[in-house]
């Protein structure tokens, strides 16, 4: 089942899971996704080794969407 997670102090938290686009569970995940974007998180879809895509809207067909914090030079 596709899942939206956020990397945080717990390791990661599941913010939403959905079965199909358009359903109530997907709409709830979209809301959660937008909330995280507003609070400074970045959405990323891992696409296997070497590939990931930054997203600004929740892609319904992705298996996993990860919310991460911005990085910066140390």
């Amino acid at each position: 089942m596709p899942k939206l997670i956020r990397m945080d102090h717990t390791g990661h938290s599941t913010l939403g899971e959905w079965t199909a686009p358009g359903g109530a569970d997907f709409e709830a995940a979209v809301e959660a996704f937008r909330r995280e974007l507003d609070s400074g998180y970045i959405g990323v879809v891992p696409e296997g080794p070497g590939r990931a895509t930054q997203v600004t809207e929740l892609p319904a067909e992705a298996d996993l969407v990860v919310m991460r914090r911005p990085i910066a030079g140390g």
Partner: protein
């Protein structure tokens, strides 16, 4: 309205680039030039001491203690630079131990089998890219360009202090996969030098990761 199914707008550039607009985008060429600059800087920092040691000894053999001090300087300066470079991937003290297993699980899911085993053993996630082979840690990354002779050290991380170490590594891995050149642009450059120099300063437990990355980088050059 519900989100669209394409990954729109599919920005290929890392969003963090907006925080460093003055930096030119990194490329193989710019990293090669940076490496050459480091080599020149190292030569400039060591050769004068070597010359001084020899000249002093030729002029007055009894000045050998000063000559030895010069030789020590010539040896210590590059070693300190390499030490600083390796610091970016040196293991930090254990933190957030309660949430680390969950974070380690997610990081493991992001990696293939061999890199997952290597990361578990060494703390470094091996990630081949276009610029070379990366070793990603929680607060920095090493880039071994094709050929495997040089190592570039980058200091970069997330500022979120409460994250467990593996989540910090996952942050960097996902950013790297999103935009490799952008990642190399956002990261601060700590050191560039010979792989043998970096290996000497690397903790023993992490050396297998460097060896694996160098092998992969040599393969890449063929």
């Amino acid at each position: 309205m519900a989100a669209t199914a394409d990954h729109s707008p599919a920005p290929s550039a890392l969003s963090e680039l907006g925080a460093v607009p003055w930096r030119p985008r990194a490329s193989s060429r710019s990293l090669r030039n940076w490496g050459r600059l480091w080599t020149a800087w190292t030569v400039l920092g060591t050769v004068p001491f070597l010359v001084a040691a020899v000249v002093l000894f030729v002029l007055q053999p009894l000045s050998f203690p000063v000559g030895l001090a010069c030789l020590a300087h010539a040896w210590i300066i590059p070693e300190l630079y390499a030490y600083r470079g390796v610091n970016v991937v040196r293991p930090k003290s254990p933190r957030n131990e309660r949430s680390e297993p969950a974070a380690q699980g997610l990081l493991g899911d992001l990696l293939d089998h061999d890199p997952r085993v290597l990361q578990h053993e060494t703390g470094l996630a091996l990630e081949p890219g276009r610029l070379g082979v990366w070793l990603v840690a929680e607060a920095g990354a090493l880039l071994i360009p094709p050929g495997g002779r040089r190592v570039n050290c980058f200091c970069v991380g997330t500022r979120e202090r409460e994250l467990p170490p593996s989540d910090r590594t996952s942050h960097l891995l996902l950013a790297l996969r999103t935009d490799e050149e952008g990642f190399a642009t956002v990261a601060n450059r700590a050191f560039s030098g010979a792989a043998w120099r970096v290996r000497r300063r690397l903790p023993r437990g992490q050396r297998p990761a460097l060896a694996a990355a160098r092998r992969a980088a040599r393969e890449m050059a063929r």
